[in-house]
Symmetry: C2
Subunit: 225 residues, 2 copies
DNA sequence: GCGGAAGTGGAACTGGGCTTCCGGATAAAG
DNA sequence: CTTTATCCGGAAGCCCAGTTCCACTTCCGC
């Protein structure tokens, strides 16, 4: 790998950006936008042909820009993660740790529900596009920070790990994904319930230990073979 | 076709049970058992060929007993629902309504997690086999009863509907489905948290209204077309 | 045992979705 | 306006499940 950066002897890299013809660039954008839509509403089972249709191009065009479906999915997911990381950073700016946590705890399930493909990816930890890896790490870091601060301020109980929170996020998002127009209300209801459940309670300890992202990752990887 | 059987004027019934040959009956059982396994661990995407392999028969045999994959799935799901209804009825016998509710609230996510296909079915409300319809209704009735009683006894807050509970069940099951050996502990953790969140709290009301199964069904049906 | 109906395995077929391919269209350079 | 590298559409090919089919085997009543 060795990501050598500037000047010097160029490695035979796959030339990052060949200049695209103007119309080609435009089409590429349209495809991305269409894909975002389709995967948002149909999840990862959204079809290439549908993407092409909505973008107003032929399937060939889709497949030239993104040689494989996986590539297309990755492109979309990467931009999702970007947006998500931003939301986390915004929440972190909130002065009150409890409110910061709550803000993000409301925003994430909403986001996951709005973008089904993202929800599926985060839940199942399907191969992560390498391009999203650093984003993913930023996200877990931010989430960990949110949790830690909230705990320090006494907003949520101490025996909950950051990955526990992530799991509960995913659960809510998944459960409410099927709801139609009621979705936002239901999500709010369940977020409320779970938040209440996470508040400190004296004289009670959760079974097991707080779950962190390292464990979570290990768990998921063990499921592959 | 016209499988005229014995003398008389046969009514055009789909003759419920043609006597199966001994070996055929045995094979049918094996197929069902294998299917249960496969769908339990792989969900609805489990493959016919895998079922055949585990049952030690050819795909032809599977497809003769269950002319379509859907039919096979339905057979398995029906038996799942049976078992589930039983668990609900057992819980209902518990004298303490709060404990009864809790008992089932622990058992259902575990069951859903152990049988991925069931979880997927219950979450997505895919076409329900007509054979399971009455079971399904028994289940919702029992669950409604459990919730109502628990509320009457003050074990859980009043502004939660039976279908809310069902959604939260499904969320936990889904979230923990990916965990490996940690699954049981995690499930217990999250059940605990959600249960805590459902306890009565003065001076707070959930947004929206309690969700009942009629609404839930309507919601899901609206997603089809 | 024997005959034939019932059952079996797995190869062949089918359909749906992803990917490839190429003749024709189009933007950019001269 | 001509040229030409680039890009486009969508038909054709491929692959992976599910389903069908039939020559062969197995069970069971005689």
């Amino acid at each position: 790998m060795l990501p050598v950066k500037r000047g010097f002897v160029e490695s035979p890299e796959p030339e990052p950006e060949r200049q695209l013809r103007a119309d080609a660039r435009r089409n590429r954008e349209r495809v991305l936008a269409a894909a975002e839509q389709v995967f948002a509403e149909s999840g990862l089972k959204g079809q290439i042909e549908e993407v092409a249709r909505r973008a107003g191009v032929g399937v060939g065009t889709v497949c030239r820009n993104f040689p494989t479906k996986q590539a297309l999915v990755e492109a979309v997911l990467t931009s999702m993660y970007e947006s998500l990381v931003n939301q986390a950073l915004v929440a972190l700016e909130h002065p009150d740790p409890g409110a910061a946590f709550e803000q993000f705890f409301v925003a994430l399930p909403e986001f996951q529900a709005r973008h089904r493909a993202l929800g599926e990816q985060m839940a199942n930890e399907l191969e992560l596009p390498s391009s999203a890896q650093p984003l993913r790490e930023q996200l877990t870091a931010a989430l960990t920070e949110l949790v830690t601060r909230a705990q320090a301020s006494g907003a949520i109980r101490a025996d909950i790990g950051p990955a526990d929170v992530s799991m509960l996020f995913a659960g809510i998002a998944h459960a409410t994904a099927i709801a139609g127009e009621l979705q936002p209300v239901l999500r709010e209801r369940y977020v409320r319930i779970v938040l209440d459940g996470m508040r400190p309670r004296d004289a009670s300890t959760l079974p097991g230990r707080p779950l962190d992202f390292a464990q979570l990752r290990r768990m998921k990887q063990r499921r592959k073979p």
